[in-house]
């Protein structure tokens, strides 16, 4: 068996997660345009999710 494939996914708060590529994506989540092994996807998230604050509270704080 080949390694199961995952997608990097994102919700409207721009929170990232991963999801098995062959499973239906839950409502409110979108394909973020990266697919690979679980580890590859998590490494990609480490690169792209640079602001971990939910989108709705960004710009409100002092940093």
């Amino acid at each position: 068996m080949s390694e199961p494939r995952f997608l990097v996914v994102r919700n409207d708060e721009e929170q990232y997660s991963i999801w098995a590529a062959d499973r239906e994506l839950p409502a409110g989540w979108h394909d973020a345009g990266f697919a690979g092994s679980r580890e590859e996807c998590l490494a990609h998230v480490d690169e792209v999710w640079t602001d971990m604050r939910p989108r709705s509270v960004r710009g409100e704080g002092t940093s």
Binding site: M1, V8, V9, N11, D12, E13, Q15, Y16, S17, I18, W19, A20, R23, E24, L25, P26, A27, G28, W29, R38, C41, L42, A43, V45, D46, V48, W49, T50, M52, R53, P54, S56, V57, E60, G61, T62, S63
Partner: protein, 1041 residues
């Protein structure tokens, strides 16, 4: 006048059935019931004559078994016509007649048939309305399911012959069953047997020795045959569709049924390597086709369900596996057992524990015997099907659910065979809804608030109430609130506000509480850094959290790098006392802003900071204030604020208007002022709670798994206090599932359930494919709702890995994969079953450490206990740790009585106290290794009594071992069932005491078996003194030499 008889070797099948029957010779588990209605017009004499003719034809029906010289033989007796007992029910009304018939039939079917005396069957002739019905029950050692077909055919043939006077149409019998047994013994020897055994040992290498099916009860130390059954029918047309799929896949319907069974077992147990028992007819030679007798041989079918195959793929695997197994189906199963599992574990049936039979039409009467051979066994027929289950392990409701799920899964699988096995439905729509409902928070969402709002509300309501007591210093709410406001204003002035972090390098002190509130009031999140930590750990935490500011006291300032703000009593003293408004802050504080960042270690990797928002904390606190009335009184706060368990006693109390008493459990200040009303501890703290420390209203236990045994002493001493078992990872904010145990409510032994989700939480139990698992089935707990943390500070990948899209909640929401295993109980509460990563196995058997710990604690002289699997010498070993004066031997004896062999620790270590982490959890890493060797186990202890000497001599002789000591174990020395049979026969011959085989299985150690022997002798020679018994034993020994 004695009847002539001949002896022959027993067949392998007879030997296997006989051995199994020895475990409980008084059980009807091997009874086979074969009723038959005689045609109208056949009278009782003719009916009796017809049966006698069948018995005369088949030696198997005139055979019993006996041990001669340590070998099992079959004894065939010459035929003697036997009269048939009759019962006339003809006079009864129809319904009464049917009821009485059923009663008689069941009674006969449930009457054990001893194998050591003829005949191996029982029969009654019962007169029904206008004809006679034969109720016939045979022992499985002489009768298999094909025999039933033959039996009916011959009864019919002889009836017909009696009616017409013609020759009966029955086949010639060129050989008899005993001839087959002799032939089989000659065939399966030497190289041929070795070759076959090599196939099976290879085939079963690495197979799980026991099914991972979730059980309703722990395995008992010894299995019996007690069983029950649920009956069900397959939906119309399902078997046709099974047949159609089989035909299209070059398989048989049985293979489809088996593939469905393997899929079911895999889905319920989580195992991808599933071993199922199937039967071979064992009648490959044409001469055997017409013989009544026992030819069936079980074989183990190993099913590979790995890689989430489609059902079609699984069917092909099952087909190939079954053909392969059938090709080697003549290998005597008992020999395979001896070769694969020489070490007997009497709590587990060897090699397979589940079976599936397809019995399209055998004529067997499925009388409920109240017995079972397997843990779970399906009998699928074209009419009524049944699932027979072991009542020691399963509840009726569980078995019924298993049968329902089998039908549902099979129906879906044959409809869509290209679907992945992992995606086949197990749940009914109702069940699915029920399971998913628990995943949705039920509390109406009020407007989200901040911790700051809640504390200020309490301070305004009770300004003169005592908020905080530390070392005799008392702060009223107004004072505490004002002090926090002053410091908060200073923090704002230093540039701190929402979405920044402030580290608290503060000891347990008034300053700690003031600073913590001040950080929150400024809008920032606090990051506790325990000054008692090693310097490297403090440096790591500060580096990881990257706080904008560190707060310290003059004592702790030197412990932190950089320039901490030192709280020396004057800092911020000049600031105004009033509550801050958003206008005072650098940015408005909102419920979505982080309140704290707590570092959790987890079992692997570096500590990570869990970022928890205000709305999560206030959601939890609302539930906690409602659930714990004691928070409005005095809460004893002893645990560090770096531990999220502490949030309840600190922020719960300060938002309820109660008093926080800040003191370690061993400080005198903890006791000053009388008993607290609220206390939250870990289970490891329980032994420390004496009368003065114990709360009057609520004892909350969290942080670790709790057992009834840990709780028993405390509850006995404080019957008036409610106990709440609170479960909650830091990632889901303090507590998200909880069970309240009311005063006086009994707690059954073993692990205490964690209860039901709190107000704002959903709890989902999902399998590896994130599908909901059925009630009762173990799944990974996934938490949903507002209490979820934002994620791990500065760890995007880790956050993405653990906070997953939730397919069962509102769009765009997440669920936290806890890594904890749990299952839904029939009462709707959850059982916690440990960490997913901690699923430890010893010799392939899954170890539930909680069960071991509970059994240790059940000993009256064990105060605290722990169990661990250690790999000190390469081989995983189960070790038990105990605190208390208990005698190790008596503990070990108690464990052996209560637990299956694989759960009895190989070593016991006595400790003065269990090692605890700073948070009060058991520090598993600090548990010591057991002493290198356990001397008593390795060293030779000479037999100490005559009975021990006798048993030791017999062992030595049978096993070919030079020296056997009093503490040696028959099976460890290389014994197996067959050798055991010889050993018991030898002992019987020496002392003429009838010791059953199960005595050896239960007490394989010389000293234990000798003790049983002495008891038997004492019982049989009632009236003789021990000395006289000993003298007799000695005399027996002397004559032997």
């Amino acid at each position: 006048m004695s009847t002539r008889e001949w002896t022959f070797p027993a067949s392998y099948a007879q030997e296997r059935v006989w051995l199994a029957n020895q475990l409980d010779a008084g059980s009807p588990v091997f009874n086979v019931s074969i009723p038959w209605a005689f045609p109208a017009g056949v009278d009782a004499d003719t009916a009796g004559d017809v049966l006698n003719r069948v018995v005369a034809r088949h030696e198997a029906l005139r055979t019993h078994l006996r041990v001669d010289d340590g070998a099992l033989v079959q004894v065939v007796r010459a035929h003697e016509p036997t009269p048939l007992p009759t019962v006339d029910l003809g006079h009864l009304p129809a319904d009464q007649r049917r009821a009485e018939f059923a009663r008689l039939r069941t009674e006969l079917a449930r009457t054990p048939i001893p194998l050591d005396a003829p005949p191996p069957w029982r029969a009654r002739l019962i007169r029904m309305e206008d004809a006679w019905t034969l109720v016939f029950v045979a022992h499985h050692a002489v009768f298999d399911s094909h025999s039933a077909v033959l039996f009916h055919a011959e009864l019919a043939a002889f009836c017909e012959a009696a009616r017409t006077g013609a020759e009966p149409a029955v086949p010639e019998l060129p050989i008899q069953y005993a001839d087959f047994a002799v032939w089989q013994r000659q065939q399966l020897t030497g190289d041929e047997l070795d070759r076959q055994l090599a196939f099976w040992t290879g085939h079963l290498a690495g197979a799980p020795p026991v099914t991972g099916l979730p059980l309703d009860r722990p395995r008992p130390a010894r299995l019996g045959f007690a069983g029950d059954e649920v009956r069900f029918t397959l939906p119309d047309g399902l078997l046709d569709r099974v047949g159609a799929l089989a035909a299209s896949a070059q398989a048989t319907p049985y293979m489809v049924l088996l593939a469905g069974f393997a899929a079911l077992l895999s889905r319920i147990s989580g195992d991808t390597d599933v071993v199922v028992g199937v039967s071979t007819a064992g009648r490959d030679n044409p001469e055997l086709a017409s013989l009544i007798g026992m030819f069936v041989n079980p074989v183990a079918l190993r099913c590979d369900v790995s890689g989430d195959p489609t059902f079609t793929t699984l069917l092909h695997r099952v087909r190939d596996g079954l053909l392969d197994a059938m090709e080697h189906g003549q290998t005597p199963f008992q020999r395979i057992v001896e070769a694969v599992h020489p070490q007997r574990d009497p709590s587990v049936q060897p090699i397979f524990q589940t079976a599936l039979n397809f019995i399209p039409d055998s004529g067997l009467d499925p009388v409920e015997l109240g017995t079972t051979k397997d843990d779970l066994a399906f009998d699928v027929t074209t009419a009524e099907c049944r699932l027979v289950y072991r009542t020691a392990l399963f509840d009726r409701a569980t078995a019924a659910a298993v049968a329902r799920r089998y039908v549902r899964l099979l129906t879906a699988a044959v409809a869509e065979p290209d679907r992945a096995v992992g995606a086949l439905p197990l749940l009914t729509d109702d069940e699915r809804e029920l399971v998913l409902a628990a995943g949705t928070a039920v509390a109406p969402d009020g407007p989200a608030t901040t911790v700051v709002d809640e504390v200020q509300r309490a301070a305004a309501a009770t300004p003169d109430g005592t908020a905080l007591v530390r070392d005799g210093v008392t702060l009223r709410y107004a004072e505490l609130n004002a002090a926090a406001n002053r410091l908060a204003r200073l923090l704002v002035a230093r540039g701190l506000g929402p979405q920044t972090r402030v580290a608290l390098a503060l000891p347990r002190s008034v300053e700690l509480v003031v600073a913590l509130l001040a950080v929150l009031k400024a809008g920032a999140a606090y990051v506790p850094v325990d000054p008692a930590y090693p310097a490297a750990r403090i440096a790591y935490l500060l580096d990881d959290a990257a706080p904008a500011l560190v707060l310290a006291t003059p004592d702790t300032a030197a412990l932190v790098p950089g320039e901490p703000l030192v709280l020396d009593g004057t800092v911020g003293a000049d600031q105004p006392d009033a509550d801050l408004t958003d206008a005072d802050r650098l940015a408005p504080l909102r419920p979505h802003h982080p309140a704290y960042v707590l570092h959790t270690s987890g079992s692997t990797g570096r500590p990570k900071g869990v970022v928890v928002e205000h709305r999560a904390v206030t959601a939890y606190l609302a539930w906690a204030r409602h659930t714990y009335p004691g928070l409005a009184g005095v809460a004893l706060l002893h645990s560090p604020v770096s531990f999220d368990l502490t949030v309840t006693g600190l922020l719960g109390t300060l938002t309820a208007g109660g008093t926080v008493r800040l003191a370690a459990l061993d400080e005198p200040a903890a006791r000053a002022g009388g008993r607290p009303s609220f206390l939250k501890v870990t289970p490891s703290h329980l032994p420390l709670l004496d009368g003065e420390l114990s709360p009057t209203a609520d004892l909350v236990i969290g942080g670790e798994a709790l057992t009834a045994e840990q709780l028993a002493d405390w509850r006995a001493a404080h019957p008036e206090v409610a106990v709440v078992n609170e479960y909650g990872p830091t990632e889901a904010t303090v507590g998200c599932v909880a069970a309240r145990i009311a005063p006086g409510e009994p707690v059954p032994p073993g692990p205490v359930p964690i209860g039901t989700p709190t107000w704002h939480t959903g709890a989902l139990l999902l399998d590896a494919a994130l599908q909901p698992v059925p009630p009762g089935v173990v799944g990974e707990l996934h938490v949903t709702g507002v209490q979820l943390a934002r994620g791990y500070h500065d760890r995007p990948g880790l956050t993405a890995a653990r906070f997953l899209p939730c397919p069962y909640g509102p769009p765009g929401t997440r669920m936290y994969a806890t890594g904890d295993l749990a299952r839904l109980r029939p009462d709707g509460s959850l059982d916690y079953l440990g960490r997913r990563d901690d699923q430890v196995k010893v010799r392939g058997m899954r170890i539930e450490l909680g069960e071991v710990e509970a059994a240790l604690l059940a000993h009256p002289d064990v105060r605290a206990a722990a169990a661990a699997v250690r790999v000190d010498n390469g081989e995983p070993t189960l070790v038990g740790y105990l605190v208390g004066p208990a005698d190790a031997d008596s503990v070990r004896a108690g464990l052996a009585r209560e637990l299956p062999a694989h759960l009895v620790p190989a070593a016991l270590v006595r400790l003065d106290a269990l090692p605890l982490t700073p948070n009060g959890k058991l520090d598993r890493a600090a548990l010591p290794a057991p002493a290198a060797t356990t001397p008593a186990k390795d060293s030779y202890v000479a037999p100490r009594t005559d009975a021990e000497a006798l048993v030791a001599d017999v062992y030595a002789d049978i096993l070919g071992v030079e020296k056997v000591g009093a503490l040696d174990d028959f099976f460890t020395l290389g014994g197996n069932s067959l050798r055991g049979m010889r050993a018991m026969a030898r002992i019987r011959a020496e002392v003429d005491v009838d010791l059953p085989m199960r005595a050896l299985f239960g007490s394989p150690v010389v000293a234990d078996l000798a003790a049983q022997l002495e008891q038997r002798i004492a019982a049989e020679l009632d009236g003789l003194s021990d000395t006289e018994v000993a003298a007799l034993l000695a005399a027996e020994e002397d004559t032997d030499r």
